[in-house]
Symmetry: C2
Subunit: 291 residues, 2 copies
């Protein structure tokens, strides 16, 4: 990676970085790496989403919708910079709670929910926090270690055929980049057999398993590559393309030969475990720089 | 439609048109319209695929793989022009049979099966017949009545929002046109929520139903449009985009507002029934000319 970082500037900016944590292991990884880089971090954990592992850091729990409480916590701790991390899985009703500020502001944040893709909701949340004087940072700013490097990342190398599939897949994602569609596809024997829409990357990979099982894809053996990249112009502060052990597991079930993600603009959650799993299951993992 | 036809030339070309019939109602519609236009037709019905309705025409049954028999029939009837119609659903083993010529030639036709999409198999079949001195015609040559006209085809008109979805969908299909991917997508509230890969159009529409049922698409009421078009440069002799009553049924189950197909380059199977069903279920059907 050829990025430059200046964590020393942190002190000047003042106050800890608020890590707004949703689902998965990524939030605590981000907080951990940020702390190792000398950042002061404070975790705001969303109940019903964030894992208990956040309790290893200075933290507080809030419910989704408690915007008044959220801003009081941040003011009280002099938090002026935040990073939003983790998956926004569907919450249980018991984990939702609206305080007065939530009641007032959330409708405008959610107004985009019907209109557009997930992206627009997240963009709208970023704008909301910025309007409240907060600086919204990207994971790549506070924990660049988590970004995928360029080149072969695991023990297994792709063959020429899969490199050609990979190029086709990058072409498909480029072509779709201006649409609010998915950011992943599976290319097998030169053909894009699955393209991500609203079902998400996992759902798309499962589809490839089904297509192989029901005979619509009449191929056997490990073949095909999952290609995942950021949309051009995507706001990486809210939606970095991410793979993790589950991605590898599903790709192996779909009998893919490997996984390619965009170098410098994608995250590997549980990186060690993820790459070890890929090695064990015989999948290559590639970080690909984009022209 | 502003196409010109000269069925009178038929006599000069000599011999009947061989209609190679696979699954569905389309083959007999094509044969029927061709006959109404004054063409002499002879049906070669593939057992296990073609419907019994073919028996209303001069016909013979062959099994898939009996290439020797197929060419003997065509020579015996002076068939020099053929049209290939109907869906190539997965055959039962009992409906396959290889004669000597089949045994010799089919491997080369199928060699493309693993390598590419359905398109390449069909292209390869067309080339095979052409190499044997046959002229392969398009449905649009022999039964242009079956092509979708431009404009509103049913009783229901799309609103401005769905027209905008439709334009986005055409953009997605344009962007993907150079890839051997699907030729359909569903756009809902400005967002391409499903893009066709190897699962086929029906599978893709069913996915939209599932995404609405499982809450990944949080919208209610009839919204969204299925857009289906030919790939640019697609050989329309083998794979005209086709919708039929089942398409409308699935689109209604997915609570779409309507269906748009490319005018002059798509077929509506069971046209009357199809449009009546769309009217009854409240879906618009549009034929769209492409720039």
């Amino acid at each position: 990676m050829k990025l430059t970082f200046a964590p020393q500037e942190d002190a000047a900016a003042g106050g800890p970085i608020g890590v707004l944590c949703f689902s998965g292991d990524l939030p605590t990884s981000v907080a951990g790496f940020a702390r190792e880089r000398g950042h002061d971090v404070f975790i705001i954990a969303f109940r019903g989403f964030a894992s208990r592992a956040v309790e290893g850091f200075p933290h507080t729990w809030v419910k989704l919708g408690q915007l008044g409480r959220l801003f009081r916590v941040m003011r009280g701790r002099s938090i002026r910079r935040i990073v939003i991390v983790g998956a926004l899985t569907r919450p249980h009703l018991r984990d939702l709670s609206l305080d007065w500020k939530g009641l007032r502001d959330i409708p405008s944040i959610l107004r985009t929910l019907r209109a557009g893709g997930d992206d627009s909701v997240l963009r709208s949340a970023v704008r909301y926090f910025e309007d409240h004087g907060l600086q919204v940072m990207a994971v790549s700013d506070v924990a660049p270690e988590l970004l995928a490097a360029e080149g072969q990342l695991g023990a297994i190398a792709p063959d020429a055929k899969e490199l050609s599939n990979l190029r086709i897949g990058m072409g498909v994602l480029d072509a779709l980049s201006s649409f609010d569609a998915g950011q992943a596809c599976v290319v097998l024997d030169g053909r894009p057999v699955a393209i991500e829409g609203a079902e998400g990357t996992d759902g798309m990979i499962v589809r490839v398993s089904e297509l192989r099982a029901n005979g619509r894809l009449r191929v056997s053996g490990p073949r095909g590559v999952l290609v995942k990249a950021a949309k051009r112009g995507q706001d990486l502060r809210v939606d970095l393309p991410t793979i993790g052990p589950r991605t590898i597991e599903l790709a192996a079930k779909a009998q893919l030969a490997g996984v390619a993600i965009e170098a410098g603009k994608s995250l590997i959650a549980e990186r060690e475990a993820c790459l070890a799993l890929a090695d064990r299951l015989g999948l290559f993992v590639l970080g690909v720089a984009r022209g």
